[in-house]
């Protein structure tokens, strides 16, 4: 979207006074887009950020209290746990989906038989909602009837695998479900990237006697940098939205052990009647997105524009 192909920009390069009325249908047709961009995206976000400096409770009010809400936020045990959980989930999910997604794509790219069948199997969970995913895994990880119960029934009485009821590892129980749902998607992106690589590269590597693994690590992965970056950005922006999965699988429990920021925001805004606290938390979410995205956008688009 950066390399503006100027070829199609209006028929007449000379600016005329009636600029506003030229191309009227197109402007009329773009009203929904303009409203969405300005009112909802820019306006809505600015409104929320502004109101995070107030002490709105049940209804939004303009009584400025500075950074009080943020102070309370970072003193809240629940918020700290939420952020920690998101960090653990985020890092693990980022690394594992990338590694597994790429490995699966590389395996499928080895000219194997039944590629279509395997791809269909790896991708189908992505079509399911997080609610369905969460409930399915909640059942499989059920301590009495799920994996733990089955193994115990087979005679290993002391076997323990109950992540959803153990505060220390509950986030990994959610991670298992998250990986199940999302890895196929990364695999598809990676596979598209691998297919875009010239066959000659492989021939050259073979002529030089470089092994397959070494070719992947030394040649292919560096060549696929843009694909990795795209995948990374998509996964990262998905991780921060983590909400439905937690609601379905554990609803934040046991206790508050699997709370996440998105859930904190929604609970404070719509259940605890503490709007400004929710606004402050959502502003922190926005801030973290900016911290992740701005360097990427700068590297990705900033350079090209000048070039």
């Amino acid at each position: 979207m950066t390399l503006a192909d100027t070829a199609r920009v209006s028929d007449n390069p000379v600016r005329r006074p009636k600029q506003l009325f030229r191309n009227l249908s197109a402007k009329f047709a773009s009203i929904p887009m303009i409203l969405t961009a300005l009112v909802v995206f820019v306006g809505g976000t600015a409104w929320t950020v502004a109101h995070s400096f107030t002490k709105s409770r049940l209804l939004p009010k303009w009584d400025f209290v500075g950074l009080d809400q943020y102070e309370r936020l970072w003193n809240s045990n629940r918020w700290i746990i939420s952020v920690e959980n998101l960090l653990i989930y985020g890092v693990c999910s980022l690394v594992l989906t990338m590694v597994l997604g790429f490995t699966l794509a590389a395996l499928l790219d080895r000219k194997i038989r039944f590629e279509g069948a395997f791809r269909t199997i790896f991708l189908y969970p992505f079509a399911l909602s997080f609610i369905v995913t969460g409930l399915a895994w909640q059942w499989i990880l059920n301590p009495d009837f799920g994996i733990q119960g089955v193994v115990r029934n087979m005679g290993w009485e002391s076997f323990t695998f109950d992540p959803l009821n153990d505060p220390d590892i509950v986030i990994f129980g959610i991670l298992i479900a998250g990986l199940w749902q999302g890895t196929g998607f990364v695999m598809v992106i990676m596979l598209a990237g691998l297919r875009g690589i010239d066959e000659d590269i492989w021939k050259a590597a073979r002529v030089d006697g470089i092994g397959i693994t070494k070719t992947y690590v030394r040649v292919i992965i560096p060549m696929m940098r843009p694909v990795f970056v795209t995948a990374l950005v998509i996964i990262a922006s998905g991780i921060i939205k983590l909400y439905d999965l937690v609601v379905a699988q554990t609803n934040g429990g046991p206790g508050i052990a699997s709370e996440v920021p998105a859930k904190y925001v929604i609970n404070y805004m719509f259940e605890a009647q503490n709007l400004a606290q929710g606004f402050a938390a959502s502003t922190m979410m926005l801030l973290s997105v900016i911290i992740v995205l701005v360097p990427w956008a700068y590297l990705e688009f900033g350079g090209k524009k000048r070039g």
Binding site: M1, A7, R8, S25, K27, A29, P32, M33, T36, A37, L38, V40, F41, V42, G44, T45, H51, P60, L104, L107, K111, I112, R113, F118, R119, I121, F122, L123, Y124, A127, L128, S129, F130, I131, V132, T133, L135, A136, W139, I140, N142, F145, W180, G184, V188, I189, I212, T230, A231, I234, K241, D244, A248, A262, F270, G278, S282, M285, L286, V289
Partner: protein, 305 residues
């Protein structure tokens, strides 16, 4: 390794990327297919367990193994999940949520795709001053966490009297579907040959004339991709459904979560799994029917303009 012993396996493995086929059951092949099969089990297991559980009676679930196939197949749980399961005081099953989801899905689909396709068309062929700026804001907006926009939308919906109604949710889906769909259509229309557009213009067609007579008939595939993207996206939505609707208008995902995670009564795992499968059925059918187009849809979403 049934496949590796078939006569065609050797030929396929001889592709330029693979190493030379030393023997059909080479260590490499065993490793390759073994890994893929193992991973397939991890992916298929939840679906299998859900199906098996939903076909058992409760006594069998309590005594048996969740991985075991049902001894006595019963469709009772499916009937109960569809027509009798309770959320709060309503005991008319998931059918209500299904109906709501359909009522949300169809108008959202029509509205969001028509708006986004016209937007994309305007951005590709009828640029005006500032159009790229709005488009850039729209795309950046796709990365803003929804949480920062949730409450302002509540205010907007309340002002226009749509808070809690299905139409409010339709509007929300249209707004949040816009970035990705507009990008999809803009890129597609930009890729069409420019001569087409020019020829139609010379023939005297205006903005809408070109759109309906030239662009629309030529872009059926991209409309199908957009539809797949939106059907799965809207059907699977939970967040907007739970915030912008009331219990009577809850979409299927929200109702499902309320049924399964309700704290009252005895847990009926078979009914829960039948309900979960029912909710997942629509996107699953779309996925298995659309095949390559689904992949194209998510790839289009992934690849930036």
């Amino acid at each position: 390794m049934v496949d590796a012993t078939s006569p065609t396996a050797g030929r396929i493995l001889e592709g330029p990327r693979g190493s030379k086929p030393k023997s059909r059951l080479s260590r490499r092949n065993i490793f390759l297919y073994g890994t893929l099969l193992l991973v397939s089990i991890y992916y298929l297991l939840p679906l299998y367990v859900m199906i098996v559980t939903s076909l058992k009676g409760m006594p069998e679930i309590r005594l048996g193994n969740i991985f075991a196939p049902p001894v006595e197949i019963t469709f009772e749980p499916w009937v109960k999940a569809w027509a009798e399961a309770c959320t709060g005081i309503n005991c008319d099953g998931l059918s209500r949520g299904f109906g709501n989801s359909v009522k949300i899905l169809i108008p959202s689909l029509i509205l969001s795709i028509s708006i986004a396709s016209v937007n994309g068309y305007a951005l590709a062929n009828w640029r005006f001053k500032g159009s790229e700026v709005f488009f850039t804001i729209l795309i950046i907006g796709a990365f803003i966490p929804y949480q920062t926009m949730l409450y302002p939308i509540v205010i907007i919906l309340r002002e226009i009297g749509l808070m809690g109604s299905l139409w409010g949710l339709v509007l929300v889906h249209t707004v949040f579907g816009m970035p990705i769909l507009t990008l999809l259509f803009r890129n597609y229309f930009t890729s069409l040959p420019e001569e087409l557009f020019k020829a139609a213009r010379v023939d005297g067609a205006g903005f809408w004339g070109v759109y309906f007579r030239v662009m629309l008939p030529m872009s059926i595939p991209i409309f199908v991709v957009a539809m797949i993207l939106q059907v799965t996206g809207i059907w699977n939505d939970f967040l907007f459904g739970v915030i912008y609707t009331k219990p009577e208008t809850y979409p299927m995902t929200v109702q499902l979560n309320n049924i399964v995670n309700s704290v009252q009564g005895i847990k009926e795992y078979n009914v829960n799994m039948a309900a979960t499968l029912l909710t997942g059925l629509v996107p699953l059918v779309i996925y298995f029917v659309s095949g390559k187009l689904f992949v194209r849809g998510i790839a289009a979403g992934a690849v930036k303009g």
